[in-house]
């Protein structure tokens, strides 16, 4: 009698556990990796905001395959070592897929970790060509890569008649890659790189570099790193009397650049990925974002929103949360997002370049005709 009761209790307990675990198995966990602290914290938080907004909208429509999507965020602080720690954390949480990545330097070492675990990774902002080469096959880049940006940059230089340029980077995987590609392409196109400098991230004083640029006779400066340094460099260049052109890589795409550079930033060119201000169909999204978070959507909000919707779309097409199935579904994507068409090459980069030059006019980024 006692034995039977004991057996019944066990069975009930097991059934209870099975039921609860079945209930939580219906939640599909997505990992978000971005710089949540450090110099670029505002960009990481912007990406997380936009992804959560997209996922929330998907859940409201009933989720994917009947499951609700949840997110868990890990901070890579735009640092390779912290990126590795954050990546391991996400892998151990058993996420179905990972979205994010702003700094190529922080993303590069994590590719192997995700690759070994076979987890699909949609890279939203990071776009160094080093990532393309190191891709173990599970990562998908929805931001056009450095080599395409170099092409757009050369076109811009030629359009403005710059024959001698100075190229400045910060030594990390993204900026040094873009700088190298652009310098090589420019030399091939017949131009001259009269000054090639590397600065340290987080510095405020660029006077030494500014002095060197001025004495090199450069007609334009191409800054390939992020907006924090870009704004300060722009200010100090103008302060020192530099009259040439200033061209910025896509890492400078932030309203903060304009705020900090102020009047010194007038007339600066930026190679911009599709941001909410440049996209005609994004007004709705802009308002939703502002209503939800009380701040304006940042530069990568549109791409982050696309990432969230893309992964939902891929999971839906794969009809399962199996990693391999999702990777296959992603590879065959033909998704029309806010930021444009998402179709991958067999290297998992975008088939078409999504960069366009914009110019700072009156404190805003305006399309360059």
């Amino acid at each position: 009698m006692v034995a039977m009761i004991r057996r019944l209790a066990c069975a009930t307990a097991l059934a209870g556990v099975a039921l609860t675990s079945a209930a939580s198995a219906a939640d599909v966990k997505l990992g978000i990796i971005a710089p949540m602290t450090g110099q670029l914290a505002s960009e990481g938080q912007d990406m997380e905001n936009a992804i959560k907004l997209a996922i929330g909208a998907v859940n409201e429509k009933g989720g994917v395959n009947g499951d609700t999507l949840t997110t868990v965020t890990a901070d890579d602080a735009c640092d390779p070592q912290q990126g590795v720690t954050a990546a391991s954390k996400l892998v151990s949480e058993g996420v179905t897929a990972i979205l994010g990545g702003y700094c190529s330097g922080a993303v590069l070492p994590t590719l192997k970790i995700y690759g070994d675990a076979g987890i699909p990774f949609i890279i939203i902002g990071a776009n160094s060509t080093k990532l393309v080469d190191a891709n173990p096959g599970n990562a998908f880049m929805i931001n056009s890569t450095g080599d395409m940006q170099a092409v757009t940059a050369i076109e811009l230089f030629q359009k403005n008649g710059y024959k001698k340029i100075a190229v400045i980077d910060e030594g990390d995987a993204y900026s040094s890659d873009l700088a190298k590609l652009t310098a090589e392409a420019f030399k091939k196109a017949g131009g001259e790189v009269v000054d090639r400098e590397t600065t340290t991230a987080g510095e405020q004083d660029y006077s030494a570099v500014v002095t060197k640029i001025k004495s090199s006779g450069a007609e334009a400066v191409f800054w390939t790193a992020y907006h924090a340094g870009g704004a300060l460099l722009t200010k100090q260049l103008r302060q020192a009397g530099f009259q040439g052109g200033i061209v910025l890589g896509d890492g400078n795409n932030s309203p903060e650049y304009l705020q900090i550079a102020g009047s010194a930033g007038e007339g600066a060119y930026l190679l911009s990925p599709p941001t909410v201000d440049l996209l005609s169909g994004a007004a709705d999204f802009k308002d939703k974002y502002k209503a939800a978070y009380g701040r304006d959507a940042g530069a990568y909000a549109a791409l982050s929103d696309d990432a969230g919707n893309l992964i939902a779309d891929a999971i839906g097409r794969a009809k399962s949360t199996d990693h391999k199935a999702i990777i296959e579904a992603l590879a065959s994507s033909d998704y029309k997002g806010l930021a444009g068409e998402i179709k991958f090459t067999d290297k998992h980069t975008l088939q078409t370049s999504n960069f366009r030059p914009v110019v700072a006019k009156g404190g805003k980024w305006v399309a360059d005709e």
């Binding site: 602290t37 090639r196 400098e197 030494a208 924090a228």
Partner: protein
């Protein structure tokens, strides 16, 4: 390298060096008095910059965005953040006065993270523009361009530092600070209120750092919650080169570091990506030959 280039780099180095000197002073003072490397010092600099920005924005509505508003922001920030320094000392460091050296070091690290994390939480990681109307006009000596703003800031830094040096060498409280830095126990026996002297040291050191923060914010035009990290590191390095615990040493160390950096980015054949390698390599070499720094005192342990 042309002569003009050399002079311009010299000027650049002196300007950035005076910022380093200002912050290094605070580091040195605190170390001198309680033998603590205050890791929170860089974050005090950052807090000072933010406090200055807040005051500047509020006052700027009436006084415009020129020098008057900057000076108001400077004084208000120095006062407020000086008091913050005193509060940190009272609650984070004083209870650890008799604890092992390592424990108080960890506390300092903790204080730094509290300030840093608090700033991140409050500002969301955004960069804030410190837009002043200070202008870029200046004088030109052949190809060398020095703006009036730069000259005024360097002058202000020199005034603050000489003021500090005079205070320490000429006043009663300054004498008390020197006494405490030599022997805390004996000072107490001589009737010096050690707690009050230490609080005063923290007030002055933090006020200087805050002043440096406001000046850097106004000069470079942006404040960010992480700006104290690199500055703290450099100021600490400058304090060590100059001889930690020595006030004139900190000033010298700061200027030297500024000059090393400026010339380090213009080395022939070596690109500017090697600048930090050059600077810290020089430092290591220097410390190998003079471990106590330029003006440091050799500490003799009497057994």
């Amino acid at each position: 390298m042309t002569f003009d280039l050399v002079i311009q780099q010299l000027v650049n180095g002196l300007i950035v060096g005076s910022f380093y000197a200002l912050i290094a002073l605070g580091y040195s003072m605190v170390f001198g008095v309680i033998k603590l490397l205050n890791f929170a010092h860089g974050d005090i600099y950052m807090t000072g910059a933010f406090a200055g920005l807040v005051v500047f924005s509020t006052v700027g509505v009436w006084l415009g965005n020129g020098w008057l508003a900057v000076v108001c922001a400077l004084l208000a920030s120095m006062l407020a953040v000086g008091l913050l320094g005193v509060i940190i000392e009272r609650f984070a460091y004083r209870p650890m006065r008799n604890a092992p050296r390592l424990s108080i070091l960890i506390t300092a690290l903790g204080a730094s993270m509290v300030l840093n994390g608090g700033a991140l939480a409050l500002t969301g990681g955004r960069h804030f523009a410190f837009n002043t109307d200070l202008g870029y006009s200046g004088i030109d000596i052949s190809a060398v361009h020095i703006t009036y703003t730069q000259m005024i800031l360097v002058a202000a830094a020199i005034v603050l530092m000489t003021g500090m040096q005079t205070f320490i060498s000429r006043t009663m409280y300054g004498k008390a600070m020197r006494a405490v830095s030599i022997d805390m126990g004996a000072s107490r026996l001589m009737g010096i209120d050690v707690d009050r002297v230490i609080a005063l040291t923290f007030f002055m050191g933090s006020a200087l750092a805050a002043g440096g923060g406001v000046m850097a914010g106004a000069y470079y035009g942006s404040v960010h919650f992480f700006m104290g990290f690199i500055m703290g590191l450099k100021a600490f390095t400058a304090a060590v080169i100059g001889g930690i615990g020595s006030v004139p040493g900190a000033m010298l160390g700061g200027l030297l570091l500024g000059l090393l950096e400026s010339f380090g980015s213009s080395l022939p054949f070596i690109g500017s990506e090697w600048r930090d390698v050059f600077v810290f390599g020089a430092l290591i070499l220097f410390l190998v030959f003079k471990p106590t720094g330029i003006l440091g005192r050799s500490v003799v342990e009497r057994v």
